[in-house]
Each structure stands twice: as structure tokens, then as C-alpha cells.
């Protein structure tokens, strides 16, 4: 160990420390490097480097280039510290490294002399407190611009009687109060009834799609866990639907599913003779299953990708220990893999749910503007309510209802799952 350290170049231990920190614990503002004095930093470096980095290295070296279940942290540290020499002008012992108390004017600064004066006039405490907010400022501004402003405008629109008469000048549209909402939730009227129908169709559709996508994803990820010949090729192949542009993928499906000239019917009817009469896939009750198949096809590679990444993070020791205790493959899946994947699943299922429930592109490309009654998903339904009938206020009200529903589901889901997690 000591010998190893002596051989290492002077800059290496610090880098190890930086990466190590980041990968193990999220850096708090107090801890992001510059708050340590040179001596402290060097001392900490040495200790950490001594205990962690070489251990990681040794393991990698002994386990070959691709150890089946490398402990993620150690592996990350070892590979990064040994393979990525960061262009780094500073060394840990450099006297220029700022220390906790270094606000003195003789501290070296960037060449821009003008800013120096301004920055120095701001107290350190304020500067330190403001930094995180400044850093996220661009993201916050973008978020406001891209998401919140349109959302607020949409909410505003939902209280207006915004029809074609007022398209040119929205401000002239009369205030409708809650009329748009009462119409939308009045399930005795045609508008409310069709919205409810569409909502229920979407719920069933989402549950089935997310379930199937997750199932396929976990199967794919578990089967791909061990290394075998052609694994990389298969992985890449599995990810194709995710990489394809939505339009290109779904329009191909719509060709496949056509009644007379589609490949699906050609195989099912002409070659396998499963049906006497050619079934319809894009209209009528089969359209519901068509949209599920297409959506699962589109979303399962994402589940696969995320679960595969999750599996990589499960330490190999757990499997070894389980195997030693005599657990078979199925038992290891139930007792190690699935529980360890819980945090991943928690996020994955939520994201899949939101994407699927809201999906507009897939049904729009598959069915066009007028979706079949049986596959009348809510996003298309709202689009129709606003664009096709030119009643943008009513469409906005439905969108707001959808937003509220999704918010409630998300909140309940997060509370429920995190409670279960803390119980465990």
C-alpha cells in the first residue's frame, strides 16, 4: 500500500478524493473543496486515497477488465483516477489554493481585474449563500419560460370563453368563470361523458402499458445481466425503438397495421390463417390493443435501460452471499435484485406513468386527428376539444383537470412509496 502511494504522481491523490467524494456523497456547499485548508485537504486526501483507491485498483486488476459485479463506488474511483488525467494546473499543496479564511486582498485572482473589486465588496457569507441560487438561475429562468408561463396562460385560458370569435384578441374573450369546468365534469352531458370515457380508457391503457413495459424491461435487464457473446449487439438492438424518432417509428406501425396492405394481417391471415376475415387494427375495438402494443414497444427500452443501470449498482457481494446461503436464481431475484431495485423502480414507474398518460404523439401519428372511440386517449381528446371544435377555453379547462389529476397521483405515489421505503 505505502509503496503504491509513493509511486503515485503528486496530483493523483487529490483527484481521487474529489471524485470519491462526489460519487459517494453529494457535496454540500460547505464541502465543495475550497472550504478546506491546504493542510486539511492534503491530510484528508492521503487518508482516503490510502484506504479506498488502491483497494479499488487491486480489485479491478484481479477481476480482469470486466468484473461481473464490481462494487460501483470503488470501481468508479479506480477507473477514473487511473484513466482520466484531468487537465489540472493546481496541485493539492499549491499555495494558491484558497483556504477557509482567505478573503485577504493578496489572494490570487482571475485576470479580469474589474470584477475583482465588485466581488470583493460582497461579504463572503452572502456570496456563499447566493452561489447555489446563481448557479441554478439559468435553469430556473428556462423552467419558468418553457413550463410555467405556458401553464399559467393555460390556466388563465380555462376561465375564458375563448372561441374563434376571440382568437385574434384573447383579452376580448368574455370571462366564463367556472363554466368550462362545470361542462367538463358534468357527466350527464355529452362533453362530460366523453371526457370521462376518454379518462377511463386512458387509465386502463396506462396501467397496461406501464406494467408491460416494466415487465419487458426487467426481463430484458435481468437476462442481459450476465455477460455472453453478442450482449452488446442485443443491448443496442433493444434500444432502437427508444432511439427512433416517434414519427418514424409509429408511422411504420400504422403501415404494418393497415387492414388490406399491412404486414400484420398478411402474416396473421394470409400465412398463418388465424382469421377468416381480415381484422381491423386501426379502427374499432382492436385499436385499443394496437395502441398498447405500439406504446409498449416505444417505452420498454427506457425501462430496460434504467433497470439495467440499476442492476449494475447492486454489489456483487450480495449475490455471492446469497449464493453461499444456497439461494437459487429465482430466490436471488426476489430477495436481492428486486428489493435493491426499489428506488430505481420508484422513479421509473412514476416517469413511465406520466409519459404514457400524457402521450400525444403516438396516438396522433397512429390514428390521426380522430382517434377511434375505443382508443380515445385523453391527450388526443383534449386536443380535439380545443382545436377541432375551436373551443380553447374548454380544452384548457380539461388540461387543467388533467394536470391536477396527475399532480395528485404523483404526490400520493411519492408519499406512499417513500413511506414504505423508510419503513423497510
Amino acid at each position: 500500500m505505502t509503496r503504491r502511494r509513493a509511486e503515485a504522481p503528486p496530483g493523483a491523490p487529490t483527484q481521487t478524493l474529489d471524485i470519491e467524494r462526489k460519487s459517494v456523497t453529494p457535496p454540500s456547499p460547505e464541502e465543495d473543496g475550497f472550504s478546506l485548508s491546504p493542510a486539511e485537504a492534503a491530510g484528508a486526501d492521503d487518508g482516503q486515497a490510502l484506504t479506498d483507491a488502491p483497494a479499488g485498483r487491486t480489485r479491478t486488476a484481479s477481476g480482469g477488465k470486466r468484473s461481473p459485479h464490481p462494487a460501483p463506488d470503488a470501481a468508479a474511483v479506480s477507473t477514473m483516477s487511473s484513466t482520466t488525467p484531468r487537465p489540472h494546473s493546481e496541485t493539492p499543496t499549491s499555495p494558491r489554493r484558497p483556504s477557509r479564511s482567505s478573503t485577504s486582498p493578496e489572494k490570487p485572482l482571475s485576470p479580469g481585474g474589474g470584477r475583482r473589486g465588485f466581488a470583493d465588496r460582497v461579504p463572503v457569507r452572502v456570496r456563499r449563500a447566493a452561489l447555489p441560487y446563481l448557479l441554478i438561475l439559468p435553469a430556473v429562468l428556462l423552467e419558468l419560460l418553457v413550463h410555467l408561463v405556458p401553464m399559467l396562460i393555460g390556466i388563465g385560458m380555462s376561465f375564458l370563453k375563448l372561441t374563434q370569435f376571440f382568437l385574434r384578441n384573447w383579452s376580448a374573450a368574455p370571462f366564463a368563470g367556472l363554466d368550462n369546468y362545470t361542462v367538463a365534469v358534468d357527466f350527464d352531458s355529452a362533453v362530460g361523458r366523453s371526457l370521462l370515457h376518454s379518462f377511463l380508457v386512458t387509465v386502463v391503457f396506462t396501467v397496461l402499458t406501464v406494467g408491460l413495459a416494466w415487465l419487458l424491461g426487467i426481463c430484458g435487464a435481468v437476462l442481459m445481466q450476465g455477460s455472453f457473446r453478442g450482449r452488446a449487439v442485443l443491448r443496442a438492438l433493444f434500444l432502437v425503438p427508444y432511439a427512433l424518432p416517434v414519427y418514424a417509428g409509429v408511422i411504420t406501425w400504422s403501415f404494418l397495421l393497415q387492414r388490406d396492405s399491412g404486414l400484420v394481417n398478411h402474416v396473421l391471415v394470409d400465412q398463418l390463417h388465424l382469421f377468416g376475415e381480415r381484422p381491423f387494427w386501426l379502427i374499432g375495438s382492436n385499436s385499443f390493443w394496437s395502441i398498447i402494443v405500439v406504446c409498449v414497444w416505444r417505452s420498454w427500452p427506457f425501462a430496460f435501460l434504467v433497470l439495467m443501470a440499476g442492476l449494475q449498482n447492486i454489489p456483487g457481494d450480495l449475490y455471492e452471499a446469497a449464493a453461499i446461503d444456497g439461494a437459487g436464481w429465482g430466490r436471488r431475484l426476489r430477495a436481492v435484485t428486486l428489493p435493491m431495485l426499489r428506488p430505481v423502480n420508484q422513479v421509473l414507474v412514476l416517469v413511465l406513468f406520466l409519459w404514457t398518460f400524457n402521450d400525444f404523439n403516438t396516438p396522433y401519428v397512429l390514428f390521426g386527428k380522430s382517434a377511434p372511440h375505443e382508443a380515445d386517449l385523453i391527450s388526443i381528446h383534449i386536443y380535439q376539444s380545443s382545436f377541432v371544435t375551436w373551443n380553447f377555453g374548454s380544452g384548457s379547462a380539461m388540461s387543467v383537470l388533467l394536470l391536477l389529476f396527475l399532480l395528485v397521483v404523483t404526490a400520493v405515489y411519492l408519499v406512499a412509496t417513500s413511506r414504505r421505503r423508510s419503513d423497510a
Binding site: L137, R168, F280, L282, S394
Partner: protein, 439 residues
């Protein structure tokens, strides 16, 4: 050093954000309508009249070149597919950023008129085109609500007729096109064999369905809107009319059930010109026929059968269809746009373009060209001037098209999958459409 960097990043990030925000603004305004060189350019959204968007560009290019030569104004042409056109116009209306000139389906005239997006063609403005009298009466009737200045000027006149395949008719032993509905059904049954069908319909096309709902509704004496402008789509007459149309597939089985999937407005025509169906109720399909190499020896055009005298409806067998040209109030180059309207309604352009599309000139003086003496054009002209009715010119017309058209899509889907399409089922769908109009 280390401590400065985050601030720099934050500031740089904010700057980049500001820069992109401005950039986006700039680019959208130039894309919308010809920014700086506005005086010399206009943007024109054409509708899809030919076999494809490319085909339209080819047809229009020589005319637009001529316009540029005559006036020095360049035309940025974009051909917009029918499925997108209305949405694009709505977006342009809302944002105030759009083209200078646009083609609209003439049935939308009244709906778009109330948005106030287009320059109204009052008498003074119409005079620059040669006055009201120059235009064909039926075409001018479909340019907006009665009593108001037209919201757009007609450029292509069209109507519905019954195309039939002469060779298939001969093989089936039919010597003349059907004149009554019974004959049409009987002929259709004779033609339906060996994977071929009597009639092709665009069963999932909202606008085609809505047009037929209107035409057959007229034959049954239905009115879509009552005198006060309230929708009444579910009248018994309208139910009977739509059922009659659906029954061609559901009961008489002279329409291929697969037609219930046809949505993009070209597939039924394709079935007809490829000989898969013997008859087609459609507007002009000159470019498609030409591309397939068909001449008047191969196909004939007859009026769609009128209702029997005992049926009590109106003697209507077509609608006044066509394309109108509208100028946006927000046009960056309004003068250029008005000049372009003048050019598009000029005798020469009317002759050239209507010849290419097989549609009817909308100005009387353009008919001296021998090309408009063909049997097909004569038949269309006859239908348009005698038995075609314009769709109701009311603000909710486009909603009628989409709601009733959609309802019929679903009914066709039911018919295609073998479900019985009863009068009650039709009525239920229409009542729903009626209620969705809201008011």
C-alpha cells in the same frame, strides 16, 4: 480562481439564455412573413390540390414566376396539407404572424370570417378584381356569411360528381351511369366481385364524410342549422341521410370495408384509378387521372343520383366546393398580397391553373378556352350551376364538419367490423355531436 468560476458560469448561462430568447424571437418573425425585404416578397400558403405537395409546387411555379416577372414581387410558396391547413391558419391568426396570402376551403369561409383575421373584400376592393359580376354566382356565395363582404375570393370552383370506370361498367354489362339510387346500388352489386368493389369512399376522412352528410341531408330535406342558427344535426331526415350513405357499406356491401380506414383524402381516389373500385363520388381528380394515364375514354362523369320525387327532399346532388384566396390583415406586404389576388383571379392564371387541376374557373371570362369544353368540365359546370348547394355559411360550419365527420368515422368503423348500424345508433352519435357544439 476556483471561486470565480461558478459566478462566471452563472452569468454566462444567463447571458446565453437571454441571447437564445432574443434569437428565437427574431427567427420566428422572419420565418413568419418575409422580414426585411418585405416590400419585394410575399408568403403564400397554398392548399394541396394536386396529387402531392411536390406536384402542387410544380403546377404553381410557372404561374408564380410570371407574377414575379410582372410585378417584381417574389412569392415564398408553401403547400400545406389539408390535415394541417386549418390549424396553421388558426395559429397564424392567434399569433398575428403568418403568411400574407392563404388558400382556404370555401366551406370554412364563414367560420374564419368571424375571427376577423382576413381582409374583407368590400365592393371597392372587389372592383380591383373586376367587380362582383365577374365571378360565378355559386362560388361567390361560398365566401362568407350572406350580407357581409366576402372574406376571401374564389379561385378554383369545384363540386361533386360520380366518376365511373367505363371498362369495368362494360365488363359488368352496364351501358350507362346510374341515374337513381336503386340503379347505383344495383350497378354497384354487379361491379362487386373478384376483389373489386362497386364504390370507393374515404370512410375515415372527416371532411369527405361531412360533405356527404350535407349532400344527402339536403336530399332528405334536412337542415343542419335552424333559422336561429342553432345546430340540429340529429333530425330524423339527417339520420336517414347518413344511414343511406353508411348502408352502401353496411347493407348493400358495395363498398370495401377497408375504406373505413381511409383518412388522408387520397386512398379512395387511388382505389378508383387503380381499378379496385368502379365508382367514386368525388370532386375533380384531373391530376390523379392524368398521372394514371386515363382519358375520357376510360372514365366518365355523371351527376350523383338525385332523390326520387316521392322522397320529398331537395333536388340537390352536390355541394358548392372550391378554394378561396384570403389575405391576412396582418400581412407584412398587404399591397403585394392584394396584387397577388388580382393575379390569381386574372383570366390567364385562372385558365392555366384550373386547366391543370381540372377545376372550374371562378370568373366568367375564363371560359373561352377550349379546354373547358371537355365532357368532364361541362358536367361539373352543369352540376355546379343547377343542383349544387353551398354548405351553410354560418360561424359554426367548421365545427359541424369535424363533429359530424368524426361521428361518421366511428359509424363507418362499426359498419366495417360488421356491427349493425341502426338508425338509433346514428341518431345517438349525431345527438352527441349536437351537444358538443355547446352553443
Amino acid at each position: 480562481m476556483r471561486r470565480r468560476k461558478p459566478y462566471l458560469f452563472a452569468v454566462a448561462g444567463a447571458l446565453v439564455l437571454a441571447a437564445t430568447a432574443c434569437g428565437a424571437d427574431d427567427s420566428s418573425s422572419t420565418a413568419g412573413s418575409a422580414g426585411g425585404s418585405a416590400a419585394q416578397t410575399i408568403t403564400y400558403w397554398a392548399s394541396n390540390q394536386g396529387t402531392s405537395l411536390e406536384n402542387d409546387k410544380e403546377v404553381l411555379k410557372p404561374e408564380l414566376d410570371r407574377f414575379t416577372k410582372e410585378t417584381g414581387i417574389k412569392v415564398n410558396l408553401e403547400v400545406v396539407p389539408w390535415a394541417d391547413l386549418l390549424n396553421r391558419i388558426l395559429a397564424a391568426t392567434t399569433s398575428g404572424k403568418g403568411p400574407d396570402v392563404v388558400n382556404i376551403g370555401n366551406t370554412w369561409s364563414a367560420s374564419l370570417q368571424v375571427t376577423g383575421a382576413f381582409v374583407p373584400w368590400d365592393d371597392a376592393l372587389l372592383k380591383t378584381l373586376g367587380g362582383k359580376e365577374r365571378f360565378l354566382g355559386p362560388s361567390l356565395a361560398a365566401t362568407g356569411a350572406p350580407g357581409q363582404p366576402p372574406t376571401a375570393v374564389p379561385i378554383y370552383g369545384m363540386t361533386y360528381g360520380l366518376f365511373y370506370n367505363k371498362k369495368m361498367f362494360k365488363e359488368a354489362g352496364i351501358d350507362k351511369p346510374p341515374a337513381t339510387w336503386d340503379e347505383l346500388i344495383a350497378d354497384g352489386k354487379k361491379l362487386t366481385k373478384d376483389g373489386k368493389w362497386g364504390l370507393a369512399v374515404e370512410g375515415a376522412s372527416v371532411s369527405e364524410n361531412a360533405h356527404h352528410a350535407f349532400i344527402f341531408g339536403q336530399q332528405h330535406g334536412a337542415e343542419l342549422f335552424d333559422a336561429s342558427g342553432k345546430p340540429q344535426f340529429d333530425s330524423d331526415q339527417e339520420v336517414a341521410a347518413i344511414k343511406q350513405y353508411l348502408d352502401l357499406m353496411a347493407v348493400h356491401k358495395i363498398v370495401n370495408p377497408s375504406n373505413a380506414e381511409y383518412a388522408n383524402g387520397t386512398e379512395a381516389v387511388q382505389d378508383f384509378v387503380s381499378g379496385k373500385a368502379g365508382m367514386l363520388m368525388w370532386q375533380s381528380i384531373a391530376t390523379q387521372l392524368k398521372q394514371a394515364g386515363w382519358t375520357e375514354d376510360d372514365y366518365g362523369l355523371a351527376p350523383i343520383p338525385l332523390p326520387g320525387p316521392s322522397q320529398g327532399g331537395k333536388q340537390v346532388n352536390a355541394m358548392v366546393a372550391g378554394i378561396n384566396l384570403a389575405v391576412f390583415k396582418t400581412a407584412a406586404n398587404k399591397d403585394g398580397a392584394l396584387k397577388f389576388a388580382q393575379f390569381m383571379t386574372s383570366k390567364q392564371t385562372q385558365q392555366n391553373l384550373n386547366k391543370a387541376y381540372g377545376s372550374l374557373p371562378t370568373v366568367t371570362d375564363a371560359y373561352d378556352d377550349p379546354a373547358f369544353e371537355s365532357q368532364t368540365i361541362k358536367t361539373f359546370q352543369q352540376i355546379l350551376s343547377s343542383t349544387a348547394a353551398p354548405l351553410p355559411q354560418v360561424a359554426q360550419e367548421s365545427q359541424f364538419e369535424t363533429l359530424v365527420g368524426n361521428a361518421m368515422n366511428q359509424l363507418f368503423a362499426d359498419a366495417a367490423s360488421g356491427k349493425a348500424v341502426t338508425a338509433e345508433a346514428v341518431k345517438a352519435k349525431l345527438t352527441e355531436a349536437d351537444q358538443q357544439m355547446g352553443g
